[in-house]
Amino acid sequence: MNLDWSIVWQSRGLLLEGALVTILLTALTMAIAVPGGIVLALMRGSRFKPVALFATGFVELFRNLPLLLLVYWAFYVMPVLTDLSLSPFTTGLTALCLNVSAYNSETFRSGINSIRKGQTEAGLAIGMSRAQVFRQIILPQAWRRVLPILASTWVSLFKDTSLVSVIAVGELAHTAMQIRSQSFRVLEMLTAMGAIYWLMGYPQAKLTDWIHRKYGARE
């Protein structure tokens, strides 16, 4: 076994680019899936039954599927549905958003449900509208309970972005796998890939722990 770790250093530009795409993908997905989750959670609570039913179906479906399957499915189905040829990046982003919005909706729903009914009534009793009560009373309180779970979801999402590599989105995993197959430096590149994920993911995991300690589990 002869190892040549110089390949990692030589590929630093590409790997850095891949890592940036990974971060971009994570951030963009979250930026879409947080409002998406709130909207879905509100739809599930809607008094208009078809809306609630649609949201429930959406959430349960995309929460209970392997993400890899969702990625493939989006890859084949989206162009037919939308009649557009979407880039792998957009397709991967869509699959991630469907998945994470479904998760976030559950997070927000339980956060909102954890606020006592009396808080809503107190807001209504001074003449606030339901929308005002939601924005000014419920959401700010639910936020504290939701934030730790969102942080955990963020870390899971960061890891899950590696799965869009199967449809050739140029993020970290795909980049590293490409270099591996071109250079035949399999052990070196795969180890480097793991190490880079670790370097990026470890602080995020620790930050999540901190957020849990600061906000979590306080009644």
Binding site: E121, A122, G123, G127
Partner: protein, 256 residues
């Protein structure tokens, strides 16, 4: 029975309940309640828990909907549309058993929030009003405190100030002292008594019989969703005409 004239009996009543009925599944919470409240009156609703007095209060500002009957506020039946209901609620202040202050807002912000969001008052003006109201309930020095840093009695006084901020025509109190430590009950009752002396129309669901006896103009006894008896406090507490009223009061140690 001696003749008793209710306060402002010559003027149209503020609130009229006509044959109000309300069921929760198989449980009948209100079984045909008819009642009226005149301007400036303090009406205390008493009775065993689960007898429907809190439900009636919550139907008054449409936090609960009634199954049949009518609730008239200032001559008009409660509206159905959300926007109209909101206008009515602004004219009724409500104080909850569990305070329900907003924990993410300071005492001052709790009092001001209705003024800024519902009345659309400028922040400056809302703050001034809120400050004055907190002073009125004896909490001028607690404006910056969050609810978590206030005692139960202080929180309930903030809640009263929050309701008063909307300049209500009637105040609804839902067991305002039931969740309080005994030593802070008095400070809340004092604020309520002062309010009554200023002529505020008040409906108070309470287990504080001494308050009902001393402050109320009219006392209504509930049992199983019906009116058992109503009358001036002297009658209810000293010469109840219904046997079961006597039973209820004697359970609470009011058998003179």
């Amino acid at each position: 029975m001696t003749a008793f004239t209710r306060k402002n009996a010559d003027k149209p009543p503020v609130l009229v309940y006509e044959d109000v009925r309300k069921k929760y599944g198989g449980f009948t919470a209100l079984d045909g309640v008819s009642l009226h409240v005149n301007a400036g009156e303090v009406v205390c609703l008493i009775g065993p828990s689960g007898s429907g007095k809190s439900t009636l209060l919550r139907c008054t500002n449409a936090l609960e909907t009634i199954d049949s009957g009518t609730v008239r506020f200032e001559g008009k039946p409660l509206p159905k549309a959300d926007a109209d209901i909101r206008k009515v609620r602004q004219r009724m202040g409500m104080v909850f058993q569990s305070f329900e202050l907003f924990p993410h807002k300071t005492a001052l912000e709790n009092v001001a929030i209705g003024l800024t969001t519902v009345r659309k008052l400028p922040a400056q003006a809302a703050e001034e009003r809120a400050r004055a109201l907190l002073a009125k309930v004896g909490l001028a020095d607690k404006t910056a405190n969050y609810p978590a840093n206030l005692s139960g009695g202080q929180q309930q006084r903030v809640a009263i100030a929050r309701a008063l901020a909307m300049e209500p025509h009637v105040m609804l109190f839902d067991e305002p002292t039931s969740a309080l430590d005994p030593e802070t009950v008095g400070e809340v009752l004092n604020v309520m008594r002062d309010l009554a002396q200023e002529g505020m129309t008040m409906i108070v669901v309470t287990h504080e019989m001494s308050f009902a006896r001393r402050v109320a103009n009219w006392v209504v006894v509930f049992e199983r969703g019906r009116l058992l008896e109503e009358g001036p406090p002297q009658q209810i507490f000293e010469a109840p005409t219904v046997e079961r009223t006597r039973d209820f009061l004697s359970h609470l140690g009011w058998d003179d």
